[in-house]
Each structure stands twice: as structure tokens, then as C-alpha cells.
């Protein structure tokens, strides 16, 4: 078993539309270390979510993977390339929610409005394992308790609309974790929530990770969340990876001009009376658009530079 549960190499994705071809991902390379939290940070259009969808094999036309590989090595299993798995291969079914599962930004779109939450969590179990409905419901009950839903006996029979936003996201997390996935992908799971509820959900994800030791890919645009939850950081910009390192390396000593610019644009970091930097001003003459390949600069850090 290698140290990395996922190794993404030279991944290229394009979207063929009426107006032309957009290269959504260009030569994306990074590893997801086993049992750690890897944050992918970037602005809209940087390719964070497209990368996640490729790992889950959820990329829909007109998007298509044009190059590269995503080597996935679950524990006690042979490694395989997710990109090469055929659409009708049963491993696709295993991937979805079994080996890898996902928590989305808007919990209401991930939950069906017409089924009771208990049944929705149990359904995830019934999809992947041969157990009775009663056993699945009992497991769903335990999982809902674990994610901090109060009064589960009553709540399990309620519908999503009867839950607050934070409680819905807890249900989605319960659904995602109930089959003990090896990789959990969180795509902006707290963006739609109040800061207080966000803190609760982040604490929950951290606590569960410490308990279950799964590998987490955490997609966000919020540097504060990256600082609080991640072990490793992948900075993306316009479909490329610009910088990879540990959370301290990247946030305390950013090397790429874009990362520096991103940090200088945050109101919490910049002193009150100082003007916020925009990417354009702080990047200045530095070239951030030429797709230089990632270079190893020591200490396990990678930076896109000439």
C-alpha cells in the first residue's frame, strides 16, 4: 500500500460547446495522501469541482477527460486507474458512494424532498451491501446519532424540509459516511451556511476524520477553512495547479505570485486601514498565465514556475 490513496497525473478535461472548446483542466498533477485532509483552493472557474467530478467519474458531457490518469488504491485492493474504468464496469458502482463519496454545497439538492431522512441514509447502505432494510435503518440511526442529530428516534422519520440548513448538511454527511468510504470529497460543504453552523460542521468533519481515518478532499475558496481543516493544500487557477505543499508551507510562506495575491486579498489578513490587494495589483508583472509545469522545490513542495 502506497502513502497516497489517489495520484492524479496529467489530467486534462475539455468542454466542447457551441462557442468552442474550453480547456477546463490542463495537465493537473497532485497526490491525495492517505488518511489526511487535502484542500483544493481556488476561485470560481479554477477547476476545483471539475477535478472532484473526474475522481468520482461524475463528469457529464459536454465535459470529457482528454488525457491523464487518476490512480486509486483502496486499502486491501489492487490499484486501478479511475479514468480507464469503463462506464458499465461494476467498479463505477462501487466508486459512487461506496469507496468514494461526496458532500455538496447545497444540502437540499443532495436530499430528496419526498423521502424520510432515515430511508435516504439507509438507501445508501442498501445500494452497496446485502443487508435487510431493518439492519440498514438501524445503521442509519447510529450514523445520524454520530453526526450529532438530536433526538434521532423522532428525527429519523422526518423529511428534509423539517430540518435546518446545518442539520440537513449533517444528514448529507451521514449519508456520505455510512458506507465507510475511503475517500470523502467535500465540495464547499459550508458555503451556504452561517458562520456559526459552518464552525459546527467543520468541527464535525474534523472529529469524524480523526475517528475514521479516511482521506478527505476538501474543496473551498475560503482560506480560513483551509487553514483550519487541511493538512495539505493544492492551489488551482484557471484549470491548472500552481502550488502544492503542507498547509503551513502554503499559507505562511506562499511561493507562487497568485497564492501571494490570494492571501493579500483577504480582509481578515490585511490590516484594517490598508487597501485590499486585487490579484492584478499584487501579481504585478509576474507571469501567472503561462502554464509552467510543477517543479519540486524541496521540502515536498511543488510550484508552477519556469
Amino acid at each position: 500500500m502506497t502513502d497516497n490513496i489517489l495520484e492524479i497525473r496529467n489530467l486534462g478535461v475539455r468542454f466542447r460547446t457551441d462557442t468552442g472548446i474550453t480547456n477546463a483542466l490542463n495537465d493537473v498533477n497532485f497526490d491525495v495522501p492517505r488518511g489526511k485532509v487535502t484542500a483544493i483552493v481556488g476561485e470560481s472557474g479554477s477547476g476545483k469541482s471539475v477535478t472532484a467530478n473526474c475522481i468520482m467519474r461524475l463528469l457529464q458531457p459536454p465535459g470529457e477527460i482528454v488525457s491523464g490518469s487518476i490512480m486509486f488504491e483502496p486499502s486491501e485492493r489492487e490499484a486501478f486507474d479511475v479514468v480507464q474504468v469503463a462506464d458499465r464496469d461494476p467498479r463505477i458502482y462501487e466508486l459512487h458512494g461506496g469507496l468514494i463519496s461526496m458532500v455538496f454545497q447545497e444540502p437540499m439538492t443532495a436530499l430528496s424532498p419526498v423521502y424520510r431522512v432515515g430511508n435516504q441514509v439507509a438507501e445508501a447502505i442498501l445500494c452497496h451491501r446485502q443487508v435487510s432494510k431493518e439492519a440498514a435503518l438501524a445503521e442509519a440511526h447510529d450514523m445520524l446519532q454520530r453526526v450529532g442529530i438530536p433526538d434521532v428516534d423522532t428525527r429519523i422519520n422526518m423529511y428534509p424540509f423539517e430540518f435546518s440548513g446545518g442539520m440537513r448538511q449533517r444528514v448529507v454527511i451521514a449519508m456520505a459516511l455510512v458506507c465507510h468510504p475511503e475517500v470523502l470529497i467535500c465540495d464547499e460543504p459550508t458555503t451556504a451556511l452561517d458562520v456559526t453552523i459552518q464552525a459546527e460542521i467543520l468541527t464535525l468533519i474534523k472529529d469524524l476524520q480523526a475517528e475514521l481515518h479516511n482521506s478527505i478532499i476538501f474543496i473551498t475558496h475560503d482560506i480560513g477553512i483551509v487553514a483550519q481543516i487541511a493538512d495539505y493544500v493544492v492551489v488551482m487557477y484557471q484549470g491548472r495547479v500552481l502550488e502544492i505543499g503542507t498547509v503551513r508551507q502554503v499559507l505562511k510562506d506562499p511561493l507562487h505570485p497568485y497564492t501571494k495575491g490570494l492571501l493579500a486579498a483577504i480582509p481578515g489578513i490585511v490590516p484594517k486601514n490598508q487597501r485590499l490587494a486585487t490579484i492584478a495589483t499584487s501579481v504585478g508583472d509576474a507571469d501567472i498565465t503561462t502554464p509552467y509545469p510543477l517543479k519540486d522545490v524541496g521540502d515536498g513542495r511543488m510550484v508552477s514556475q519556469p
Binding site: D194, V195, L202, D222, A227, R248, L262, G268, L276
Partner: protein, 584 residues
Amino acid sequence: MNTKAGDDGRILKVRHLSKTFDGHVALQDVSFDLARADTLGVVGESGSGKTTLARCILRAIDPDLGGSVEFMSEETGDWVTLSTLKHRELVPLRKEMQMVFQDPYSSLNPRMTVRQIIEEPLIVHGERDRDERLERVREMLDLVQLSQDSLTRYPHAFSGGQRQRIGIARALILRPNLVVCDETVSALDVSVQAQIINLLEDLQKTLHLTYIFVAHDLAVVRHICNNVLVMHNGVVVERGDVDDVFDKPQRNYTKLLLSAIPSPDPDIRMQPAERSILDHAEPVVEGYGLVEGPVWHDDYGLLFSDVLYGGVYAVDNARQVTPVFEHRRGIGGMVDHVDGGLVVSGKNVSLKRFGETESVLLLDRDPDNGNVGYNDITTDVHGRIYAGSLGSSPVFDDGLEPRAGDLYVIDLDGSSRIVAEDIQLTNGLGFSPDGKALYHADSRRRQIYRYEIDKAGELKPREVFFEFDSGSPDGLAIAEDGSLWVANVMRERVNGDSPHDETASQFLPGRVLVINPNGSERTAIEIPVPMCTSVCFGGAGLRTLYIVSGSNGVDGDRRGGVYRYEAPISGLKLTPAAVQPRLN
């Protein structure tokens, strides 16, 4: 800038603004002033009433009757009361106040060109000259840094940040003075957000704009605002200079919000406060005027008085209220006396002991010598009564020369003497559990004094035990561990108004501050209504904290009530002696 009559640098005066939707209170009694060219942040979770407040101010929705919003109109050069104007009369004023919305996608009509979007307000307000309109639109495009060839394009051709610039241009083309930004930068990426924040700051400098900035992102608010209102459940729970509030939050809710912000420094670990710090005291009875002097009486249970509407009442465990005796207004302090009677004190009330059949005068008030009555009272382990006289003050509005009060002691034989002088206002008196010290809260000096008691039972000179950073102390109770449980009135003057103008006060929800015997702060218990006036321990084993609250003293106001709080004092043993000293 204009210097017309009535212009005192303020652009907005909001007083007692409330809004109820189908019985649900979305906004309750919000008052504040806004200075011209200032930036006021309004923060809180979803459902806290931030957007309702913004919309009530601009009359996008009509606030409840009773509150008022006054706006300094540049056109008329005088204050106009927005909250009561007819919609027709509001139209010309709309030019002076505008709003920028959160969602740059849904707030722009996709079928209109940028030119049509930005010039529409001019057409609505009757600008007929096409060339003039085009000229103004071109000016706005420069101001918000969009290229002139944007004019004929449609919103879909623009990114989120550019669309927000279009929304800002539309809001500013009428040259407003007040701009309400409702989550204007929330939907934007961080680098685009930085551009829009910089743009808003630049425009404020060039155009002398006043902003109300509604946002849930506290870091953004701290960056661009001078002042902030923190809202929770439709009530302003804290307000002030943004750095003061963020560096030294006083309210549990503000602490909860701030503790939840993830720091961008990985070495500063987020330690979100537990939501249970918001658990506040639960109501026992409500609907009274100014409730004071709670005391736990062996026979009656909890007794309280209503200073505003008069009377002394008892509450039983089933929350049934029984009048104990009628009395005109004014009773503020009560103590259960060793002789079985009840001693009462108050403004314009002489100190009397009420027994079953007779009442005994203990100390007469003496208005001619500047003593209009007595405020709080207590008794020591020997059964002597300590009473603080009110003195007189301009606040009482009784035409007397201002005079400080004194602390009296009444011995068991009925003789009385002064034991301490120069007391601005006695709010709260109580003995330490060992009887060796007397605590005394002075609400005007916002301090608690401590008097040690010598072997002969006399008070030594006082020393300052605790000073209040925010609000002022009122009644207090002392627990067996020596901790002081002090009612903390959170009342703030709205800037610039007369100190004696009651309508200019903003009452924040009340709280009880718990102070350790060494003078350090332990915790704060909050009650959901303004003006926490006094506390006592009661119930089985004296383990329940009863908190009473009052309205702001305006006739017809019935927001006073009795609240109880149990959770954190379970496990804390209270001896009756500490709370209600008795003989033998």
C-alpha cells in the same frame, strides 16, 4: 457638503423600529444614529433581522407603527420621517437612498442592455433628456471602472464582479447620499470581492456616501465599517465601534459569532463557543411595567413589585400571580424581615415595615433635605437593616438641588444612623456569606464598592471592588461561594442626543454578570428582554436564580417580567444565610 438648518452631521435617526410578520417578531425596538459618510455594519446569522432592518429603513417594507426613521434630506435640507410618509411622498426621496443587492445574477434584468439598466432610475425619476441620461450613464461606467463599450451589451456577457459593478452604477446614478449594501460582496470570489470593496471605499471618499453594510462575513465588516450592530432574533444585542466590539465582545452572542470565524492562520486553532452559551433565563411571568425588588419569602414564595404600575405580587410554582398588597407606584427594594414582616423601600416611598396588621415607619424620606426616598435595602446576620437613600438628581425631575445619597443602618431598637456618605445611587446591597463585608452597587458611578466590617460591626471605608465596562449595575445577590450575581442594565445613549431624553436610549437585552469573590468576571446570563433590574435566589434550597426586568419607564410599556435560571447553579450550594440573613 451641505450645512443647512437641522444638519448636525447625522443622516439617519432610527428610533424603536419594529417589524412583525404575521405575529412573528422579525425586528424589535432598534434605535441608532448614523453619521454622514460613516459606514455601519449590520451582522448576525440568517433570520437575525439584518435584511428586515435594511428594508424597513428604506421603506421597501413598512415597519410597525410606533417606531420612526428620520432621514436628513439634502433636497429639503431638513429631517423627514421616512417611516410615516405616504408612498407617493417617498418617491422624490428615493433618489437620495439606494440599495445594492447580493445576487449579481438575479438583480439585473437579462433582457435589458447595460445602458438601459443603469439609466432606468433616471427615467423613473423623470429625466427626459436622452443625451443627459447617456452622459450620466457614461460617467457612471467610468466611476465603476467598466469600459464604455459595455453600454450595448447584456448582463450575461459579464462576470459576477462586473455585474456587481453594474448594480453599483445603477444605485449611484441618482447621486444618493445613503446606500444600503445587502450582502453585496458575499457571492463574489475573494479577489473580485477585494476589487468591489476597494471600489465602494473609493466611491465613498469621492461622493461622501454613507453606507449601511449588511453582511454575514465578519472579516469584511471589520475591514470596511466604523461601527457595527450585532443582531440576534431581531434584537440588537451589541453595538459600537467595530474594533471595540470585535476585540472585546460583551455579549454571549457576539462571542459565539466571532469564535466561529476560521482564522486564516493555521497556527490559530478555531475554538467555536458552544451554542449553549446562548441559553438564557426563561420567563416566569411577563406583562408588567418596571419589575423590581425580588425577594424569596418563606411564606409567600417569590415576591416582586411593579415600580411603574404599583403593587407587590407573589408568584407560586405554577406561575400564578397573587397580589400581596396594593401600593402606589414606587416600591423598588424589599427584604424579608426577622419579625416576619416585609420591609419595603423606593423612590417617594418611606422605609416601612409591613406586618400582618400594621405598618411601622422605619425611616422617613426627607425631600426638603434632598432625600426623595430609599433604593435597595438588605439586612445583616443580626437583623439590622441597611438602606441606601436616593438623594436627589436632575434625572428624578423633581426640581430639587442635586444631592448624593447616604447609607443608613437601622438597629433592632429602631434607631438609625448614617454609616457611609456620598453614594450616587444605591442599586444593590448585600453581605458576603461570612458577614464580614458589605457590597454596594453604585449604578451612576458604574462601580461596586466593598466595605469591610470590623469586630465592632462597623463599616470600614469603602474600596472599589469592580468596575463595569459596559452598562451599569443594578440589584445584586450573593451566593454561598461569595460570588456576586449582579443585574447589569445594558442601556446605551444613541449618539448626540440629550442625556435626559428617554427616547434616545437603546436598551440592549439585559444580563446578569457573575463576579468571582476575587473581583474577576465568571460568566454572564442573558435574559431575552431589555433592562435587567435585579436578582435574588429562591426556590427549593435557594438554587434558582430569579431575575426581574423592566421596561424603559414609559407609560403603557409592559415588557417587565420575572425570569428564572437554573442550569449553571446546580451544584453550587447556597445557604439561606447568605441570601436572607435571619436571627438565631
